[in-house]
Structure formats: C-alpha cells, structure tokens
C-alpha cells in the first residue's frame, strides 16, 4: 500500500515523461494526458489493478479517451512494461502508436475513436458475470467529458444500468475542455451527475488531483453493487503552468524540452 506522498512522486515522474514525449512530437496531447495522470496513477499504483491472468480473472483498463495515451505509456514505463527509450519514438512510424493499440504490452484495448470504450467495457463485464467473477474483478473505463457528447456513451450507459453491471467502473476526466475549446462553449453538458444517476448509475464526485479523494472514490465504486461512475474534476494541462493557464491541448516541443533533463 503506497502512501499519498509516494503516489505524488510517481505522478511527478509520469508528468515528466509526458513532457518528454511532447518534446519528441508536437502532436502529442499533452493537456489531456496531464489531466488524467493522477487518475491513472491512482488506478495502477493506488488501488493496484491486477492486469495479468485469464480474460475474466483480471482487471481491465480501457482508456476510452485514447488521445491521453502518453499518460498510459508513462505509467507503463514506470512499471517497466515498456522501455523508457520507446517514449522518444512516440507517434513515429516505428514507434508507439498515437492512440492505444492492444498489441503494445500493457495496453488492453485499442481505442482512439471516442465513445466506444464504455460499450466494450460492458461486454467484458458481462463476460465476467457469465464466468462467475463479477464483482471480484473490475473493468475501468476512462472517458473524457467532451467524449460524453457521443451518443454511444449513453447507449452503453443504459445497457450497463439495465444489466446492473457491478464490475463496470466509469471514470470521467472532467477537465472542462474539448478540441474546439471549453466544453461549455462548444456544447453544454447539463448536469453530468444528474444524467448518470437518472439512468441508474451510482455517481461519485472526486477531486481528480487528490489521491485521498481518488482512492476513496475508487474503493466506493468497486464495492457498489451496480455500475458506478466517478466524476473526477481535473485541470487540463495539470502540472504545466502554461497549459493550465491557456487550457491548450498541445505544447511546442521547444517549450516542453525545458522540463526534461
């Protein structure tokens, strides 16, 4: 069981790696990766997901907001699953894919096209029910708040609620931004909490940059006897002053280089 301080140290290293990748290629989604960092650190090093084993006898992590994959690569490098030097080749023809590819060690599901992860997760959760491991293992699907514009997310959410899939945990990285700008400017989301709870999900609100808050939320989500969603409030670009201020997604490689030794 790691302390919050240890988790914060890991998160700092993860952020450093994200900036290293941003320095390697300007199209890396630094903003989104930085906002989801603490959520992923809480999952992998906080509660500790068990990602080895037969398909229905293990946890799954589906990064439905696939463009934030640099954060996942950084976590996998921290775990030694992928080599640190791979990070410098992100988005190159012979290097790491720009969005999750399940052929990469440590990546469970290929994503990149928004809105699909929750349906996939529901299918896996249902398979756990068939194999009698429901509730023992969980499928964590990480979505972006902009991604909630996609209708398919709600198709999946109602399926999960109808089936009362207790192994399914959705985590929304609510960073308030999407491609064309602040989420409220592009398309009002209404009350996210009310949307999810009205269709039958257990809603947990968490501070997406507090490990105490995230771990407590994850424990609550895991033990809830039905599908649970964690609305994690975050800041796009968290950890990099410039991005936190502007809310931009990308940062120039020249700028990012300063923060990488």
């Amino acid at each position: 069981m790691r302390t919050f301080n240890e988790l914060r140290e890991i998160a700092a290293r993860v952020r450093k790696r994200i900036l290293r990748m941003a320095a390697a290629d300007k199209s890396v989604h630094a903003g989104a990766s930085l906002s989801v960092t603490d959520i992923l650190v809480a999952l992998y090093f906080g509660i500790g997901v068990r990602v080895d084993g037969p398909p229905t006898h293990r946890d799954w992590v589906i990064l439905s907001k696939g463009h934030a994959v640099p954060a996942l690569y950084a976590i996998l490098a921290e775990m030694g699953v992928i080599d640190e030097r791979e990070l410098d080749k992100i988005r190159s023809i012979d290097g790491l894919e720009g969005h999750p590819d399940f052929n990469t060690p440590g990546i469970d599901v290929s994503t990149g096209s928004l809105g699909q992860g929750l349906s996939i997760g529901a299918g896996i959760a249902y398979a756990m029910r068939l194999d009698g491991t429901e509730g023992k293992y969980h499928v964590y699907v990480i979505l972006g708040d902009g991604e909630l514009d996609e209708g398919q997310v709600w198709e999946a959410a109602t399926t999960a609620a109808h089936l009362r899939l207790r192994s399914l945990v959705a985590i929304v990285d609510v960073n308030g931004f999407q491609l064309d700008g602040p989420t409220e400017k592009v398309k009002s989301k209404g009350s996210l909490a009310a949307r999810w709870s009205s269709i039958g999900w257990h809603v947990i609100e968490a501070d997406g940059h507090s490990f105490r808050s995230l771990l407590s939320a994850l424990e609550e989500a895991k033990s809830y006897p039905g599908p649970a969603v964690i609305l994690a409030y975050t800041r796009r670009g968290r950890g990099l002053g410039l991005l936190e201020k502007t809310g931009e997604q990308h940062v120039s490689p020249e700028y990012a280089k300063q923060f990488v030794e």
Binding site: D108, S113, G115, Q116, I120, A122, A127, Q152, T159
Partner: protein
Amino acid sequence: MRDAVGKALVELGENDKDMVVVTADVARSTRTIWFAERFPERFVNVGIGEQDLVDFAAGLALAGKRPWAAAFAMFMMRAWEQIRNTIDRMKLDVKLLATHSGFSDHGDGASHQSLEDIALMRVLHNMIVVVPADALEAYKAVIHLHEQVRGPAYLRIGRDYSPRITELETPFILGQANVLEDGEDVTLIGAGPILYHVLEAARILRERGIRAAVIDMHTIKPIDRSTVVKYAQKTGFVVTVEEHYPRGGLGGAVAEVLVEEYPTRMLLIGARGYGHSARSVEDLYRAHGLTAESIAKRVEEWLRGAKR
C-alpha cells in the same frame, strides 16, 4: 432464411458454452429469440443501439466469448465505424448477423432496404463476407463460420423469401464458389436469393441458344479467384447479379479479380436506385429489372452488342 439461421444458432449454443448472442431490439425479427429462450443468460438485448451492440459484442470477444451480434443489415451499417475501428482493427472473433438485407424487407420500404452493405463490409481489411443463396446454405454458413472462423465475419441474409437453390448435399466451403450450372457462352455470377431468378434466366437463355454457366458466389470475401478466372477464360463474358447497387458489391469484387488477372467484358446488374415499400419481394425485383425475364433480356442484348 431467418428461421434457418435461428435454428443453427440454437444448435451451436448447445455445444458451445462460450457462445453469446446479442441483438439490438430485433430478437423476434431475427429469430435470435429462440436462442434467448433456450439460453437466457447467454443472450443480451441492448435495445435500439447498434453501435453499442457491436462494441458490446467486441467486449465479449476480448473477454474470450464467441459472440454473434444480430441486427437488420441497414441499421448495422450505422455501426460501420465501430465495426471498422474495434472489431476489424483488433481482428476480433465477432460474427455479425445482418438480416433483412436487399429487398427482403419489402413492406418497410426504402429506409430499411440495404443496398450498400456488401460494399461497406468487403472493403474492411480483415472482414469475411458471406451472402448465402438460400435457407439451407444460410444454415450451413452459420455452422461453418462459428466452427471454423476465429475472426470477424459478416453474414448477410434476407428475411423470409428464400426459394430453394442449393441441395442438402451442396457443400459449404468458405471461399469456394458453387457452380450451379455449367455453360460456355456466358458466366452469370450471383449471391443470395436472387440466384433463383438467375437460374431461371439461364433457362430462358438456353431456349434462345445461349448456354450460361451459373455460379453461387456465396463468399464475397475472400472471393474464389480461381473459379472467377476459370469461367472468364471459358466463356469470355461475365455478368454479376445482386440485391445491391452495382457498385462495390459482388460485381466490384469480381471485377477486381478479372481486371488484374484476366480482363473480361463484364455486365454488372443490381438495384436501380433506392427501394420502396411493396407487397412482395417480386414486385421489387420487377421494379429493378431483377426478374428472370429482365435479366435474360439484358444479358442477351448485351451479348449481341458486345460480340459485334
């Protein structure tokens, strides 16, 4: 056709405990309800959400199950991108059962009559595409696909209209066309129930001294290249007939083979435009020049013109 498939699924379900059937609110129409009644825990209805249907099935496959996802062909196309980016890209073992294809859903009209799905599915890199000729062949195709294929496949069937074309002993071998009739003057290649009328057209042509070979190309992808080339070489003229636009479907698949290996004069026969409501499938065939008389007449005129 749907009854035969419904039965095949139940029989497979008896022997394969990992088989799961999923549908988007069309359990009754697709006859997957029979599987549901027999194996309630291994059946899921996701309601009216084809994109969810397809990705839920993908999740099942990732988790080691052997899913069949059933929906009307037209509305399964709403999930083309999900099929492409999740099922095909990860090469998942999901069997897509697309029913009510072509003009088979005569009553519901143009909105429901899928004339584009063969093109949309065959372009996908890893997808297998099968269009069985009749109920008997559909039954065999379901069994074969489930037992022999561990990857993505699209099975396009009609609804009820399925006049007998094949025999009980006709083998179903994926990627191997069935030559229903031999001939030397022209090759007629078809897929699906329309083959019944293609056979009838061949009979009419024979009365007029034109001996047509008739081929049941049930596997559009991977297409039986050698049979296509063999008959092109033998007859010199190839006609394709399908309940689909004459663009990108069976006709396109055959043309792609011939243009590379043995360029041959071709006539692509298919739907003339969007469908319409009708009291019978035959009414729609008549409206789109897909009756035996219409096909025979067109082929005869074409041959006459081509040979000048």
